[in-house]
């Protein structure tokens, strides 16, 4: 008997009789831009509202003019990143500007699928992260978010603010391993 068979047999003999699955509703809630911004700021992110997506470049020039190596398929980039980019180049990225798909007002998180990342490591290895988000794609809570998503693809991440830790005496420190700062440009 393989371990697989052993485990499955043991479950079959030890599990209780079938319990009904509850009906999980899609809860209502406030999915406003305002709430999204407030929550995002409470978790260490920054939100900037734009009139159109075209203003992204202007915003990046304004807020990140001191950063050298920028990777993006939305604004002007000077580091070219793709699936095959090696670690040495990825490590040099100062700023990544990428598209977010769905924002969640309740917790300030944004869905970023692999297809938007240029390289799976980019949103994490970059020193600073900017996500660009269409305000019409902000929903109230996670039920609504997963409902809106059509599957999670090969790889995708909900990102909520910059990387952080409180592992030393519960003191919050922004910028653990991932991005040191995180801005959302909402249009």
């Amino acid at each position: 008997m393989t371990s697989r068979e052993k485990i499955l047999a043991s479950i079959a003999s030890n599990k209780p009789s079938l319990v009904t699955m509850p009906n999980v509703p899609i809860f209502e809630g406030d999915g406003s831009v305002e709430r999204f911004k407030n929550v995002l700021e409470s978790i260490g992110g920054t939100a900037v509202e734009l009139t159109t997506k075209a203003e992204c470049q202007e915003a990046i020039d304004k807020y990140y003019h001191d950063l050298v190596n920028v990777a993006s398929d939305i604004v002007k980039a000077n580091v070219s990143i793709n699936l095959d980019t090696n670690k040495d180049i990825l490590e040099q990225v100062d700023l990544a500007v990428i598209q977010g798909e769905i924002g969640v007002a309740e917790n300030g998180t944004i869905w970023v699928p692999e297809s938007n990342m240029l390289n799976r490591a980019l949103p994490f290895i970059t020193q600073h992260l900017v996500l660009v988000l269409d305000k019409h794609n902000i929903v109230a809570n996670m039920q609504q978010a997963y409902d809106k998503l059509e599957g999670v693809g090969n790889y995708g991440v909900f990102i909520a603010g910059p990387s952080k830790t409180a592992d030393i005496e519960q003191s919050l420190v922004i910028g653990a391993h991932g991005a040191r700062s995180m801005m959302v440009l909402i249009y």
């Binding site: 040495d88 309740e106 996670m142 999670v152 693809g153 830790t165 030393i168």
Partner: protein, 462 residues
């Protein structure tokens, strides 16, 4: 190896009054953050009920969901392994590493994000003995790894340490300035140190918070970004999961992602909620599905709901005993109330003091996001410890004696009278002798009245 029980370790912890205060307050602060994150969500209690019921359903159909998960994962190009116990789990992980990374002249390098399962299996020791370099990348885990200590909390591994302790450890291992204790500076030092490790790693290992049967995906939640950074830079990803991590589909996942971080740290959600489904072309993804006592717990009707645990640690933060005895006093991978109902399933003899390391106040059950009736299970484990003859002999016979007395009213009345009489006559120094009466170490005994209520009633009302 001699094994200390919870009361002894807790007593030692309490010797340092100030540090106990600090530990209690630090964790209470986390509990308060949790409250602030929970109260404003109107459907929070409904979510707890749903989370509990989804898991009840899933556990009752666990074998089929695991099979569904496996089939979908395989379709996604993921290699699925099954381990009956810790030994097999460790062996599998080692073989994946050795087979997939043929490096010359140096050890294979593994970076790990937090996984309580691998702690449970003592994977690090095993791999290191087999010439694999292991680096824990969660900051708290890295700190305790440097110090050669086990984590003292499942979400906050280094919560028992003060910043001065961490400063000392980093001075020793990372060359930070002597006496440096600023969390910002210490975290930056760890960031620089670990970036090097991420880039150099051959294999990355993660735990699994949730595994989705419908898609064959698994979800990993972190705040630091260490799981994604490790996995996306290494050639091989190994994810280790207990069989109970399964949930049916993404819609159900939405319930748990609303509960987990709020319950754990009071954040509205973890910074990164990462969904892994398919490996990148040319890379490998492995899932190791582990039993290690879980199917046995599934068979224990009174205790099976402990498998619903999503490892948020809220029961630790709220537990007045945990806060005043520290995670290490439990001497089990998962400490606190949930650990006290999981551990007897693994080794009743070794962990027999844990179900008694509680006042049964019930705060753990009320805080639990999946509504495990932890305090009820503590009570039930006590009975099993009692029946397995694992109680100290003196306690056992005292209980039997007491039960006899209390079922015979006349004997009860008389023994009460005699005991009160004795308490009234004997000198304070004797009745409050600390070695004979632990009560009296910090407390006075109640005054022994001349009359019991019964005697008063007889005299006044009959």
């Amino acid at each position: 190896m001699s094994h200390q029980n919870h009361p002894e370790l807790a007593e030692a912890f309490n010797k340092d009054f100030e540090r106990t205060t600090w530990h209690d307050e630090t964790l209470w602060f986390v509990r308060q953050k949790r409250d602030k994150a929970v109260y404003p969500i109107p459907e929070f209690q409904d979510l707890r009920t749903l989370a509990s019921e989804i898991k009840d359903h899933t556990l009752s159909n666990l074998d089929n969901y695991l099979i569904e998960f496996e089939q979908n994962a395989i379709k996604n190009g993921v290699k699925v392994h099954w381990a009956a116990d810790a030994v097999e789990h460790n062996q599998i992980v080692m073989e994946i590493i050795k087979n997939s990374c043929k490096v010359e002249g140096r050890n294979p390098r593994l970076v790990k994000s937090k996984s309580m399962l691998t702690e449970e299996c003592h994977l690090n020791d095993f791999l290191e003995k087999n010439n694999i370099d292991v680096v824990d990348t969660d900051l708290g885990e890295r700190i305790v790894q440097f110090r050669n200590e086990p984590p003292s909390h499942i979400v906050l591994p280094a919560i028992h340490l003060k910043k001065e302790d961490v400063g000392e450890t980093f001075y020793e291992h990372l060359g930070t300035a002597k006496g440096e204790k600023d969390p910002q500076i210490l975290t930056e030092a760890a960031r620089q140190h670990l970036r090097g490790k991420f880039v150099a790693a051959d294999v990355a290992l993660t735990g699994v918070n949730f595994a989705i049967a419908e898609t064959g995906s698994f979800v990993v939640c972190t705040n630091e970004g260490n799981a994604d950074l490790g996995v996306n830079l290494a050639k091989v990803h190994i994810a280790c999961m207990g069989i109970e991590k399964i949930i049916p589909d993404l819609h159900h996942l939405s319930v748990y992602t609303r509960l987990l971080a709020r319950s754990a740290t009071g954040q509205p959600v973890t910074t990164y909620t990462s969904h892994f489904t398919k490996p990148v072309e040319g890379k490998e993804m492995h899932i190791v599905i582990v039993d290690n006592g879980r199917t046995q717990q599934l068979g224990r009707e009174d205790f099976r709901s402990s498998l619903k645990c999503i490892r948020c640690g809220a029961c630790m933060n709220t537990c007045p005993v945990y806060r005043r005895s520290g995670g290490h006093s439990y001497d089990f991978t998962v400490p606190g109330p949930i650990g006290a109902i999981l551990s007897p399933n693994i080794d009743l003899h070794k962990h027999k003091s844990l179900p008694f390391a509680s006042t049964l106040c019930g705060s753990c059950s009320d805080v639990c996001p999946v509504k495990i009736d932890i305090h009820v299970q503590l009570y039930k484990w006590r009975q099993i410890v009692g029946q397995a003859n694992e109680l100290p002999a003196a306690k056992k016979w005292a209980m039997k004696g007491m039960a006899k007395v209390l079922s015979m009213p006349k004997v009860y009345d008389l023994s009460g009278k005699l005991a009160r009489g004795a308490l009234r006559i004997l000198p304070h120094g004797l009745t409050h002798n600390e070695s004979m009466n632990p009560w009296a170490k910090a407390r006075e005994l109640p005054d022994a009245p001349k009359q019991s209520f019964k005697e008063w009633y007889e005299e006044n009302r009959q």
